[in-house]
């Protein structure tokens, strides 16, 4: 694959605006963390932890859209390496940028939890892009994470670290396992199948 081919692929997936939007998301996270005086108490960062990865995942999810699905399918080369590089690359950028908003305490709502939430949300969004199309891919992750955000306050039980993974403060094994499984499964599904074809009628 030539460099021009890669460049064309990047442009067809709106990669530069997506990267700019990820930088903007990081700015939003920084602003929100500052607004909530997060340096006073790490638990004040919780909304940033829920929302910033969601927005990053939504940006990544909408960039999985292809405007020329039928044309793509006539290509000689396999698409999966490109999809893999695109998803992993954007996830890596998001996972590297977002934790800068919550530096400091690493045990309670610190950078590791931000990376976990970014990966988990991206995984759910990638799976949704395969099932519902890239344009709507943000909806399931938004619904799930925001519901868990309000629901997990008083929730107890052995499985709570698994189903409420976006709200776990530290390095709970269950939460990491859930987020990584979501990322691996959603990513694999997207790499194998690609986003669901969406006509102009959607």
């Amino acid at each position: 694959m030539t460099a021009i081919g890669l460049l064309l692929y990047a442009r067809s997936r709106a990669l530069w605006p997506t990267l700019a939007a990820l930088v903007g998301t990081t700015g939003f996270a920084l602003w929100a963390a500052h607004l909530m005086d997060a340096y006073l108490d790490p638990s004040r960062r919780v909304p940033v932890f829920a929302l910033a990865p969601l927005l990053a995942a939504a940006v990544i999810g909408t960039s999985l859209y292809t405007a020329s699905d039928e044309l793509d399918r006539t290509a000689v080369r396999p698409w999966w390496p490109r999809r893999l590089v695109q998803l992993l690359g954007l996830s890596a950028v998001a996972a590297a940028l977002l934790p800068t908003a919550v530096l400091g305490d690493t045990l309670v709502f610190g950078p590791p939890a931000m990376i976990r939430n970014t990966l988990g949300s991206t995984g759910v969004t990638a799976a949704a892009a395969v099932l519902f199309g890239a344009r709507l891919s943000w909806l399931p992750a938004f619904g799930y994470v925001s519901a868990v955000y309000l629901a997990s306050g008083g929730a107890r039980g052995p499985a709570v670290t698994v189903w409420a993974w976006p709200m776990q403060p530290g390095t709970q094994t269950g939460a990491w396992a859930a987020a990584l499984v979501a990322f691996a499964a959603g990513g694999a599904l997207y790499v194998a199948r690609g986003a669901r074809p969406e006509g102009a009628r959607a």
């Binding site: 929302l51 939504a58 909806l139 925001s146 309000l150 189903w163 959607a202």
Partner: protein, 444 residues
Amino acid sequence: MTLTADSRKPPERRLHPLRAEIVRGFAPWTGAAVLLTLGMLLTGTSAQWQGGWAETRSQLHDSMLVIAPLTAAAGCLQGGRERRRRTDELWETAVRGRLARFLASAMPVALWAAAGFTAAAALALLATWPYAQGDRPHLGLLPGDAVLLAACAMAGHVVGRLVAWRPAAPALAMAGYVGLAVPAMASPGAGRHLDAAFPAPVGSYPVWWQPVVMAVWTGGLASAAVLAYAARRRYTALVPLAAAIAAGALLVRTGDGLWHDDPLASRQVCDTSTTPQICVNARYEGLLPQVREALSEVVGRLEGVQNLPVRFEDRPTAPRHGEARLPMLAPLGWSVVRGRLTDPKQYAWEAVAELEGRGDCQSTLDPRVRRADDAVEHYLAPGPHQEYFDRLAAEGSAAERAELTARQRARARLASMGEEERRIWLSAYFATAGSCGARAVPAL
């Protein structure tokens, strides 16, 4: 070949042209998304609202924080539809005006979102019904919340028409979360009364016109946006805008007067057959038999003892003179889940601790007083964790083991007293309830 008349009759009733917009496409999915998200939220928190009408109302209203931005985003997605289909120009040729065309695609999302919310609210109320312990259903905030969802869908639709950017919908949802959550988290200001998703505390009720004015505020803003975008005479947008501003001004001016405390929450339902009497909050009057059952052993063993408080009171405020606080029933989800006391033994132990009234000075207590407290708790209602702490002390340092031995000796001493002797001792002991000094507490 002959031409035969078509024997099939034309359909009797022609389907309304808007029917397809309502039952097909993205709109029903909005309703499903609202219902699913609410379902997940309500299921996850069910222990904290199921069985309490006020809790159910508050949980439904508080979930607006999540559902309203989601609905706005769904409206935004629908708003970009004509641009994506490239049917804008086709619509221009329609006979109907711009506003009618706008409403034809915007209304279904608004209706479905409101329907999804209504269905979830109905299910939540049904789920609370069998476990309700008193009080009555509170439906006052629900219509206003449904109007808020419809308004969000319409406003989102306008944004979707104006902004041609694929991540516009999630970005709008994010802006909605921030816009609704910031007044709820920030310091109390008059602006929070304009926040339609501001959390409604349990036991606090709006004046009857608050939901109406709130609906005028949210609906007016959305209508102004719609008219400014789609009306033939755009200046008509000023009418709903003026109504919204008037409603907003009324909300801000009234301020804290919008909400008042539930009179029911200050009433007590009492069982006066026991000493001390047992009163529960009238909001949970159905729990009285269970509470009495849980405390029956404590009350039985206190028969004839003097210097006890007159009654257990279930109020959020500090107990009055001569009364003890009933261990908390609310907030639901801890002591009470779905109309049942979760742990009667623990509850009885908490009640004894309230009778002793030394919760504020546990760390500074004289060891002798602490031993007396422990012996009384052991005699009246041993806590479920007592054995665990004893085992911990038995495996601990020499000082902890010595303290355990002294504790066990005090317990044995109280248990071995004769009925009358124990009654006199307990009467002297309860005369010192609430005091942190060691001098008056009788020796064991």
